[in-house]
């Protein structure tokens, strides 16, 4: 494309160059930065709502016996907490980051399908509004756990299950549209010279994640549609009386569910791969191996789903296959952890807030990964299955894993978004409170799980009392320390020292070549890529 073309096109462009005024800016916007911000705010709101539900759970579990809530409401809390955190907090946060950063990282002026981008965001508040309103319906909100196993979620479900199903359909549509948009942007909108193997790792991990989303979100839509038909139209997909099979539900659900957990962690790998080189002031070690490792993890995620259901009565050959396939995932994951450590090796490291979160990610995610390997051992899983050990495992990979990476990303790119330098004091205070809180909350859960405390119960045997009390204290420390984060972000938007275009000394990438705050429109002319012809 020649420069003449671009100028000609530019003259045809009659849009004004700043954002529209008033509320309509947010309703009608097609700007990737506006939509990215809305995703992030929405995700923060859901994080606080889902977090409050977690605090209800931990408050009830502070002591054995029933103190604060009815067991039925407790079950609604565990269910809604899981659904909101997975679909409302973690996933939209990553989509928001992708919206903000992917076009800027590949030198594109916007997303490939800006109108659809607006749609995919605005579906979300309605989906979650509907889901949250079930709390006020007769019979209460869904109470069958975020995995909604049939027949608990069909024959024995509260009436509100239908609203839950439509909410899941809507979030699915939103995720798929977001994923299609991201794939189209990455494959078609890169600046000339930005070859695939030159893309920042965050872009790579998102490209692979988007493909995972397109592959499995329709399966989730399928499984809830089958539930809908079982409940209302007399089919028997999961009803044994009519010739169906409840175990089938688990197979279809986990065929979606396992790739889903990688959807929530691959973008985190990309974020950490951007932050660690910046603050170690070295290039990322093993870029190509990082790309291949990500792709192998994505591929393996499709053939390990039944490790979630070792206890349903599988043949021995099945247990062995899923056990070894699961353990195989440790290899590409190990490559990644090795590369991050090798990047830091002999680097000139400094420990600003984003780096602290990224380092905590590497350490704590590895702990979560190792407990995952323990769960992958099929014969041992019969002891761990459905205990607090599982809860400890997936919270270690999701909270100090996915959530810490999102925090790291927000602190890392916040100066680029707001144009103000970070308040390091408040950021570090937030980090240490979160780090301590998270470990006090989730580490004891390993022990009570190994001792046999089942998950999803409002009351427990006396011998679990001490560790539960400790975990509850940790949960309140972690929960309340997120208010520091909210305060810090709002302060940063309103005031602070002016940030330079490249506000981190060791940062590399196109996003640091535009001024801070990033102008409303960036890269309307494609940038020059180093090393391109």
């Amino acid at each position: 494309m020649s420069t003449a073309d671009i100028t000609a096109e530019h003259h045809d462009d009659h849009h004004d160059h700043g954002p529209a005024k008033g509320l309509s800016r947010w309703f009608f916007t097609t700007n990737h930065k506006d939509i990215g911000s809305m995703y992030l705010w929405f995700s923060l709101a859901m994080f606080l709502v889902g977090g409050s539900m977690a605090l209800v759970i931990r408050a009830e579990l502070f002591q054995p016996g029933l103190q604060l809530v009815e067991p039925g409401f407790f079950n609604q809390m565990t269910t809604m907490h899981g659904l909101i955190m997975v679909f409302g907090a973690v996933m939209p946060a990553f989509v928001g980051l992708a919206n903000w950063m992917v076009p800027m990282m590949i030198g594109a002026p916007d997303m490939a399908l800006p109108r659809m981008n607006n749609w995919s965001f605005w579906i979300l508040p309605f989906a979650f509004g509907m889901l949250l309103l079930t709390l006020f319906m007769d019979g209460g909100a869904p109470n069958f756990g975020w995995t909604f196993y049939a027949p608990l979620s069909t024959t024995y479900a509260p009436d509100s299950v239908t609203f839950f199903i439509f909410a899941v359909h809507m979030m699915g549509v939103s995720s798929i549209m977001g994923a299609i948009n991201i794939v189209a942007t990455i494959l078609n909108m890169r600046a000339p010279g930005m070859t695939l193997m030159k893309m920042p790792l965050f872009v790579w991990t998102w490209l692979i994640t988007a493909y995972l989303l397109i592959a499995v979100m329709p399966v989730l839509a399928g499984v809830v549609t089958m539930m809908l038909m079982d409940i209302h139209f007399g089919t028997s997909f999961f009803d044994a009386a009519g010739g169906g099979d409840p175990v089938l539900f688990q197979h279809v659900f986990w065929f979606f569910g396992h790739p889903e957990v990688y959807i929530m962690i691959l973008p985190a790998f990309g974020i950490v791969s951007a932050i660690i080189p910046t603050f170690a002031r070295k290039q990322l070690f093993g870029y190509a191996s990082m790309v291949y490792a990500t792709a192998s993890i994505a591929f393996l995620s499709f053939i390990v789903w039944a490790h979630h259901m070792f206890t349903v009565g599988m043949p021995l050959a099945g247990e062995l296959f899923f056990m070894f396939a699961t353990m195989l995932i440790a290899v590409p994951t190990g490559v990644k952890v090795f590369n991050w450590i090798a990047t830091m090796w002999r680097g000139s490291m400094t420990f600003e807030t984003p780096m602290l979160f990224a380092l905590a990610f590497v350490i704590l995610f590895t702990i979560g990964g190792l407990s995952g390997l323990m769960l992958a051992i099929a014969p041992a899983d019969f002891q761990y299955h459905d205990t607090y050990f599982v809860v400890a495992h997936f919270h270690y990979v999701l909270v100090p894993g996915a959530i810490f990476s999102i925090m790291a990303a927000v602190y890392y790119w916040l100066p680029k978004w707001t144009g103000h330098q970070l308040n390091e004091g408040a950021g570090k205070f937030h980090f240490w409170m979160s780090f301590i809180g998270v470990n006090i909350t989730f580490f004891p859960m390993h022990f009570i799980g190994l001792a046999g405390m089942p998950r999803r119960i409002p009351d427990y045997a006396l011998q679990f009392a001490d560790f539960n009390a400790i975990a509850s204290v940790g949960a309140f420390i972690f929960g309340l320390s997120q208010l520091i984060f909210v305060w810090n972000v709002i302060q940063n938007i309103r005031s602070g020292k002016k940030a330079e275009a490249k506000c981190w000394e060791g940062a590399e990438g196109l996003e640091w070549s535009v001024p801070s705050p990033a102008p409303y429109h960036t890269f309307t002319t494609p940038p020059q890529i180093e090393g391109a012809k």
């Binding site: 592959a215 399928g222 007399g234 044994a240 279809v252 043949p315």
Partner: protein, 192 residues
């Protein structure tokens, strides 16, 4: 401009992928059933019908066959195996029965769903005749003996020396009535 055209093509392909994966979710239902049939996974499917070859009874060993009855929570019937445990020689034909009572004041219809444990044994348990092949109607207050005839395939491996066969009884009265009503309508239409 070619970027717009490329994007259109790519989006069309991605949408097609989405639709295909939605279909794949549903395709997993028959795939799962076929897979279970081949592997005997989940112990749901056992072989039925008469033996294909004349049976050679293996007198050297016996296999313990245990019967269990399970109720769906909303099923008010009484339902028990006549004899809980049998020691049978592989290849030997064995007849047994379950006794069912309908203690309610309504005529009801039930369907029994079998399950074999360990699932590996499912393919060696052959039912010649079983009440679970049909729907079982029972009048209010009535009691019935529901027979079944089975044998163990002499090919059964050594390590399988104990098999449990459980039946879960489901109340399908409502579905049955709906189906009958539909049939009645069809009949009426055909007579008109």
């Amino acid at each position: 401009m070619s970027v717009a055209a490329d994007t259109k093509k790519l989006v069309a392909r991605l949408v097609l992928g989405t639709v295909l994966m939605f279909g794949f979710g549903f395709a997993m239902v028959p795939i799962y059933n076929v897979f279970c049939e081949i592997t005997g996974l989940n112990g749901k499917i056992t072989r039925t019908g008469e033996s294909e070859q004349p049976l050679v009874v293996n007198q050297d060993r016996t296999v313990k066959v245990r019967f269990i009855s399970v109720f769906n929570e909303e099923m008010p019937w009484e339902f028990e195996p006549m004899q809980k445990v049998y020691q049978v020689n592989p290849g030997q034909m064995q007849q047994t029965a379950f006794v069912a009572t309908n203690p309610t004041a309504n005529n009801m219809v039930a369907q029994a769903i079998p399950s074999v444990s360990p699932s590996e044994a499912a393919q060696y348990l052959q039912k010649v005749n079983c009440f679970c092949f049909d729907r079982q109607p029972l009048d209010a207050g009535a009691t019935a003996e529901m027979p079944m005839v089975f044998f163990i395939d002499p090919e059964i491996p050594e390590h399988l020396d104990s098999i449990t066969l459980s039946y879960t009884l489901f109340d399908i009265t409502d579905q049955q009535q709906v189906a009958e009503a539909k049939n009645d309508n069809n009949d009426k239409r055909s007579t008109l």
